[in-house]
Amino acid sequence: MLVIRRRVGETLVIGADIEVEVLESGGSQVKLGIRAPRAIGVVRKEIRTVGEQNQAAAQLVKQFKNPRPKPIRPV
């Protein structure tokens, strides 16, 4: 893994057209600003993990055969 030390306000670039700027840092968090072409998806890694887990979760129901339930009504 490439490790780069940066201060608030400093930027790094990835490839030709992706920029990552350190906007704030404090406590245990850093706030990053990312400039990238629209076609480049930028998401928190947990979101991707959850997306993959959801794909797996959608398979579970196929293991059960189920009688007809009734929709829950809003309370």
């Binding site: 947990e46 959850v50 809003p74």
Partner: protein, 147 residues
Amino acid sequence: MHSFAQMPSIHTEQFGELHYDEASALLFPRGLPGFEQSRRFVLLDNPDFAPVVHLQSLETGNLCFLALPVRSVDPDYETILSEEDREALGLADADQPTVDLALLSAAQDGSLSANLLAPVVIHLAKQRGVQAVRFDSRYSHKEPLCS
């Protein structure tokens, strides 16, 4: 009140022709990660499966999740909602009740796990839902279920 024949319906793999009331349709403004195009779901309850509930897509007949209330998985579980999550849910204040569910999945060996990293949070009164992915690393997306 609509008569049964007038109710909207969707053909589902799991339940056959499923009639539902618009008043029970839930809108997920951002969809779910991995299923961003799926915005409308309905929560289905079946005493035979309690406390497990089904979250059935109203757009894709073969998309249906099984879920457990988060606190039946972990009695101490506290849901954390971001500013964005609250907005998507139309939650005005912290005290409004939500239904918080953990989606279930099975590993290769058949063991079940619950996604406590990203509970599905539903505001029934507003008919809105989000999958609220936590920022902390307190819980896993695959918490083992003890049966």
